[in-house]
Symmetry: C2
Subunit: 401 residues, 2 copies
């Protein structure tokens, strides 16, 4: 008889999340996650870039960090300096940029540099699930600020800051996705940005600006980034190539004053982020990024129109949403009777995956009947079929639509 | 007058490491780090692999995790199943493998799954600096076991386990680099492996096997991995492509029973490791890995011979070392009067970078006059010149050689 398998259970520390489940393949209609449009992926350009950059400087792969040091491939940081100036109104140098393994590592580096168990931070009430989960795992309290059609409500922010101050609590940061907010897709107007920065300064709280979706406004226009508007270095900025090029390439970045970027760099102990992906992106983007993004936007916009029409056709007035100004997802409100968590579970059984509202909000009551539908990765036909299947499940369980 | 820059200092949590220094470029003679041989990098093969795999399945980059799920690109895991069986005597399936962003992320995932502040682990006394630093940052006590020419001393391991047991301490794991140990380059013989596993079982302590260098024995022969020899799943195994293909490609892996791998997967919240690097490696390695590695070994062995001859020429009997069985570094003992930390500092000033022994050991007295010299990344000429410059500094400061 073989010996019993070793039992690791008694060795595990407290607060470890539960075990991951076995992956069972992708659902037939996957409206979750930040997956992107496969048809708009600039594949020929990436293939040519890989060939060119590897032929020119491939042997630098034998050195950690290439010849660029620990902040990431210099040509990619050069591209970002120009891009951020042109698109986001940010004046920075390559020394202010740290390339990360996706913006998720950027989130972790910012959090581990600033947060300790018991801390408080301010976030948008409806918020990226990964950001909420990270805070909860760190034992940090997120205070949610409600949003309206123009994003973060400044009156509510001011009230929350004043309330926390009265309680003697100084939040560690104000986390915001001001441009194409996740999941509401709102874009914070210029005057609210100025007001937010003014409040942040008055209360001595830095701003943590997550700008992952900012390239994807339909108009191609966007307000300047908070980072660019601040005049005294109280903003930490993160971005990504996941939404404009390809999410499986894990390349993001942090822009921040050296006084705090140097602390993040000190805890980035991974010997650098993937060099090949950085090289290919730098080579491709320097020549083609500005021309590629409008093509992607048009493709995404067309899929969004298909999604909104499918919702009207299959849900009618039961599905309420604003026509978003950009992005890859739609934030949908169903009638109050619908429990989105339950709907998610039932939909899964028929091959439809959705993000239930309560997982994307710190206000569970507010988000109870809401859901986030990502539309970038599905074909137009799949969007139609998926929404029809979702409506069928919803009708059967909740009597709507 | 512009407002004063925002001061992040008062927001920082306790125990944050000091700020990173600005990178000032690579030293002229860099004997540090795990950098590899640029001439032996299989560049043409990688270029062809990138082209082929991107043309065939590049559009999957638009989906997180490609179509392979969160454990990593399936074709790469398929390659590893075959490679580990052939080279390391490990029988596992693709489901037992988690692809990571280099073996450093693997180290972090294992540590964060098993360790809490105040824990104790057993390691080799002379040990990879990154492993020691990670433990100290986590507030974990590493108990060092001395090595001899055959690696970890089993008598000392047994004594340490018994001593800890008397004190009521159950170590969380025994960490070992059994094949081409870092920094001693020793290879643990088969009978010691069996004895180590027997002790681990008796004391109920799992083994954490770091096998990053195992492909680089000059003979191409190696004892089976501890993971393959264990009959009850008490070993966690990690490996890497850094030492055999290229370190700037950040691709490593963990092999472990699902009961513990599923806990590691749950804390791997980075939405997957870089897909392009995984795709290119899988495409290249499936066809060429077995033929490439002997070419690399011959190139490394030749550089090692140059290094040993340069040490004999410039240090004479003052530099003591064993001719290692493989790897990319040499562990050198200088006369007792030499303070390696001081030598490191002075050498840096003349463009020679070395790893001082005390940073690669938990026994500072034992390692005081030792240093690790990595030889893979330098040319034969640079090895000669660098050793000459190092000897000159050493003579000036310490009177030897």
């Amino acid at each position: 008889m073989p010996p019993a398998p070793f039992d690791f259970t008694s060795l595990l520390p407290p607060n470890l999340p539960p075990a991951a489940a076995r992956w069972t393949g992708r659902p037939k209609y996957d409206f979750t996650g930040g997956n992107n449009d496969p048809d708009a992926l600039p594949l020929d350009g990436l293939i040519a870039a890989a060939d060119a950059v590897l032929r020119r400087e491939g042997r630098t792969l034998s050195t950690y960090g290439l010849n660029s040091g620990p902040q990431g491939y210099r040509a990619l940081r050069d591209f970002l300096v120009n891009k951020l100036k042109r698109d986001a109104g940010i004046a920075c140098s390559t020394d202010d940029i740290l390339i990360t393994s996706g913006s998720l590592q950027a989130l972790d580096l910012v959090n581990h540099t600033l947060l300790a168990r018991g801390d408080t931070v301010i976030i948008e009430e409806d918020c990226y699930q990964g950001s909420i989960n990270r805070l909860l795992r760190l034992g940090v309290t997120p205070v949610g600020i409600p949003l309206d059609r123009d994003g973060l409500r400044i009156d509510a922010l001011e009230a929350a800051l004043a309330d926390l101050k009265r309680k003697g609590i100084r939040p560690k940061y104000i986390y915001t996705i001001p441009t194409v907010q996740n999941p509401t897709a709102t874009v914070l107007p210029l005057e609210r940005r100025a007001a937010l920065l003014k409040l942040a300064s008055e209360y001595g709280v830095p701003v943590f600006e997550d700008d992952c979706y900012a390239d994807l406004t339909w108009s191609g226009q966007r307000p300047p980034a908070l980072y660019g508007m601040s005049d005294h270095g109280n903003v930490i900025y993160i971005g990504s190539f996941s939404k404009t090029i390809a999410p499986a390439l894990r390349v993001g970045y942090i822009v921040a004053p050296w006084s705090i970027l140097s602390r993040m760099l000190a805890i980035k102990t991974d010997a650098g982020s993937g060099a090949l992906e950085q090289m290919v992106l730098a080579e491709y983007c320097a020549a083609h990024f500005a021309k590629h993004v409008p093509v992607l936007r048009r493709s995404l916009r067309a899929k969004l129109v298909t999604l909104m029409e499918a919702l009207k056709a299959h849900f009618g007035a039961a599905a309420a949403f604003d026509d978003p100004q950009g992005g890859i997802f739609l934030w949908v409100k169903l009638p109050d009777g619908v429990d989105a968590l339950q709907l998610c579970k039932l939909a899964q059984a028929v091959g439809v995956a959705i993000n239930p509202g309560p997982e994307w909000s710190v206000n569970k009551a507010h988000a109870r009947s809401r859901l986030r539908l990502c539309f970038a990765n599905l074909s137009h036909e799949e969007i139609n079929q998926g929404v029809a299947a979702l409506a069928e499940v919803c009708r059967r369980e909740f009597g709507v639509p």
